[in-house]
Amino acid sequence: MTRFVLTKIFHAIITFVLSGIVIFFGVRMLPGDPALAMAGEEATPERLDAIRADLGLDQPLIVQFLKFLGDIITGDLGESTRTGLAVTEMIATTLPVTLWLSLYAIIVAVIVGITLGMVAERFRGKWPELGSNFIALLGLSVPNFWLGLLAIMGLAVILGWFPASGYVDVLSDPIRGIYYLTLPAVILGTSLAAVITRQTRASMIESMGTDYVRMARAKGLSRPRVLFRYGLRNSLIVLVTIIGLQLGGLISGAVVTERIFALPGLGKLTLDAVFSRDYPVIQAVVLVITASYILINLAVDILYSVINPQIRVSEDAS
């Protein structure tokens, strides 16, 4: 087990370093000049040169790359070229927003997804199953931005039940914080809820058809008890893995959701930084997102090997 975990951690580190290289050179391959994006209308050759020198963009690429590596190691991610604010500070203020949003979205998705999946299994061949399948299909196929706009128009503008934008820190004012995050979290959680619905339905059908469930029912256990104790419990193993793998998708989905609801999160920060060619911010944010992907995958791999030791054995053997 220790060898397996150490190997996985080593792989994660290698992936992170390679990602760093790709991010650095990938950002520099973007068309457009950050100095020009910064100077905008008032761009004069002298001002552009001054900005380039200030940002170190007049240095050879390899020098810039070495500085980038040095900065990562020392934890100094530099300043935003557009606003002059410290990048670490920008990430520190935006990351919690995305984390709260993602956590809330997962909770919504798990509750809605498992409920709908169980309903589908319980009423197989009847209209509740059709309804559940239809909702799952909608959730998978309707894009976030469209659903978000509809939600804003319907629930914020017409009915006025939720705010159309804004964010309140969840820790300083939990009730208002949750209220402000509800609409975005529901929108962000929709596609994950759809995936969970389908997965729950499929694994419940499988579990409920097994011999031990038939045995449990033959023993006279009530249907709800069989459903929760044997059906759902066994399905959860698969669900944990699915949810883990979908977390990365949530972070990228947050880019769109945060933009629509003007939430001050990492997603919005990334998108705006790309548009203004803010190299230090793009690099830092993409690194943070990459690191979280890698960590989530590492955790899922380890968790999965704990749940299903066969995985560990087969990988060790290979």
């Binding site: 001002r47 200030d54 503008v157 629509i260 003007a262 705006d272």
Partner: protein, 536 residues
């Protein structure tokens, strides 16, 4: 029967999809509405007003800032020596009168206010003005140095009089002081913060800087040190960055924000009809146009073309565009045609600068034939990939076919387009300019050889001479005449083919008042406030 109904329905859908774009009739009259102002007694003091900003301001430093949106935020925190009024005329703000200019035009004296304090409690005086202007001239990263002109020396004659001497007369100086170059910064704060002044700007203003959350919001709070604090109604203003026009419109509708800038012409008619929402509209001092590469950059393929080399071909392109019809069709008549770099709303506008080339596709085609080019003439046009710009570019593409042009539209992301322009990597390109109060800022930098924004490579002695004389003349009528002649010359050279002028469209909810949007496009919220219930 079922098949027949399906066929009919399908035809209807197809026909609806294929309906040609028809030019609209004359748009309704849309007179400017630049302000909404209630009686002083109608205001409910206090509260936080939220304004949706369409783009993130850059550094909050008047010396280095280059974003239009920074002006929105700065104007509540950093008052200028001068400002413009609803008519576009320059009026004193922190100065007490318009500058006193010597007869040779080389010495300018500016009297400044007494009894004024910066947000940090220190005194505002001529020495502080001198510090600010010198920073604008000397800071390496300054965006202001060119705007300030050929300054020789800056002196604080006494506490309340500043004297600036120039190597050559420079008439646009006063207008520059009505923009960011004239925002006076606290010398104490500058000493403390240096280049990082923008992290926590300190100036004279109704509001002072409170906090900034990157890419998200900027908050300013009422400044107790402000000399005219009685006129300030709000406790604070939060500028919330919302780059999507639909989202800004939705937030105005829901009441989550009270003011929103840059409303799309596609949304404005619907918003105008809704109760509880008002629209401010003012013509822009800027323009949108086609930039032609006449010889700029390293790639001759971009300019050794009939368009780049022959003024007749450029004139043909200008004549082939029915500006009025296109603007009406694409922007629902909200924007207006443009044929020069001087807005008809500018105090410098004359019949000569307002004159427009006739739309005449037949004559345009004849010009092309005279120029001896093979028809249709293939032209590559780079444009920004925003929805409104693409619609306009496609309309230009379709409209110029008749005159013999075959334009390929190449959409690019805005930053990449700016880069292509700066490197001269284009044949024809569509971009605009947000506009300056003084025509110098709209013409000289684009048409004078080697000037900062001369990305077309135009080099014309007659035009250069007119622009130099206009910047050195001190008499208003003389300047108007010279800029009129310069506009005529730009219309002959067509290095920039002026197309249309946007309107500054700002939406507000009717529970607030005291908002102004003048022709420089800046939304003024300094005297804004919430209204009492019975006043709404």
């Amino acid at each position: 029967m079922k098949k027949r109904i399906t066929a009919v329905l399908a035809s209807v859908v197809l026909m609806a999809g294929c309906t040609p774009v028809q030019p609209l009739g004359e748009p309704p009259e849309r007179p400017d509405v630049k302000s909404v102002n209630a009686d002083p007694g109608a205001f409910e003091d206090g509260g936080d007003l939220v304004m949706a900003l369409s783009s993130e301001p850059d550094r909050l430093d008047p010396t280095t800032s280059s974003s239009l949106y920074t002006r929105y935020v700065m104007q509540t925190m950093c008052q200028k020596l001068y400002d413009i009024d609803a008519n576009g005329d320059i009026t004193p703000m922190l100065a007490t009168a318009l500058p006193d200019i010597s007869e040779d035009g080389k010495t300018v004296r500016i009297p400044v206010k007494d009894g004024v304090r910066f947000a940090d409690g220190t005194d505002f005086d001529a020495e502080a003005v001198k510090t600010t202007i010198e920073r604008g001239l000397n800071l390496e990263e300054s965006s202001r140095s060119a705007e300030l002109g050929p300054i020789n020396d800056v002196t604080a004659v006494d506490d309340h009089t500043l004297e600036v001497t120039f190597d050559e007369p420079f008439a646009p100086f006063t207008a520059a002081l009505a923009d960011r170059a004239g925002m006076i910064m606290s010398p104490t704060a500058l000493d403390k913060a240096g280049e990082n002044f923008g992290d926590h700007p300190v100036c004279v203003g109704p509001f002072k800087f409170e906090k900034r959350i990157a890419q998200t919001s900027i908050k300013v709070v009422k400044d107790a040190n402000y000399y005219d604090a009685d006129k300030v109604h709000l406790d604070s203003i939060t500028y919330q960055i919302m780059s999507d026009a639909n989202i800004r419109a939705a937030n105005i509708r829901s009441g989550d924000v009270q003011v929103a800038d840059t409303i799309s012409p596609q949304d404005v008619d619907a918003l105008k009809e809704e109760s509880g929402i008002g629209i401010l509209q003012s013509n822009s001092l800027g323009y949108q146009g086609l930039t032609v590469n006449l010889g700029f950059g390293d790639n001759p393929e971009n300019f050794e073309t009939p368009l780049g080399q022959d003024p007749k071909v450029r004139k043909a392109l200008s004549m082939a565009i029915d500006r009025k019809a296109l603007v009406n069709t694409v922007f629902n008549g909200w924007f207006s045609p443009a044929c020069s770099g001087i807005s008809p709303d500018s105090p410098f506008a004359t019949a000569a600068s307002n004159a427009c080339v006739d739309y005449d596709p037949e004559a345009a085609k004849k010009l092309l034939e005279d120029a001896g080019v093979d028809l249709p003439l293939k032209v590559n046009m780079k444009v920004s990939n925003t929805q409104d710009t693409l619609r306009f570019a496609q309309a230009v593409q379709a409209a110029t076919k008749e005159a013999g042009f075959d334009i390929t539209v190449q959409p690019m992301e805005y930053t990449a387009l700016l880069d292509a322009q700066d490197r001269g990597d284009y044949e024809l390109l569509q971009l605009g300019w947000s506009g300056r109060v003084d025509p110098h800022g709209n013409l000289y930098t684009f048409h004078y050889p080697g000037a900062g924004n001369n990305v077309t490579g135009v080099d014309d002695d007659k035009l250069s001479n007119l622009l130099t004389r206009a910047s050195e003349a001190t008499d208003m009528d003389e300047r108007k005449k010279l800029y009129g002649e310069a506009s005529q010359r730009t219309g002959e050279l067509n290095s920039i083919i002026y197309l249309y002028r946007q309107k500054n469209l700002t939406a507000f909810t009717d529970n607030v008042s005291g908002i102004d949007v003048f022709s420089d496009g800046v939304v003024h919220l300094s005297e804004a406030g919430f209204l009492k219930k019975d006043a709404q």
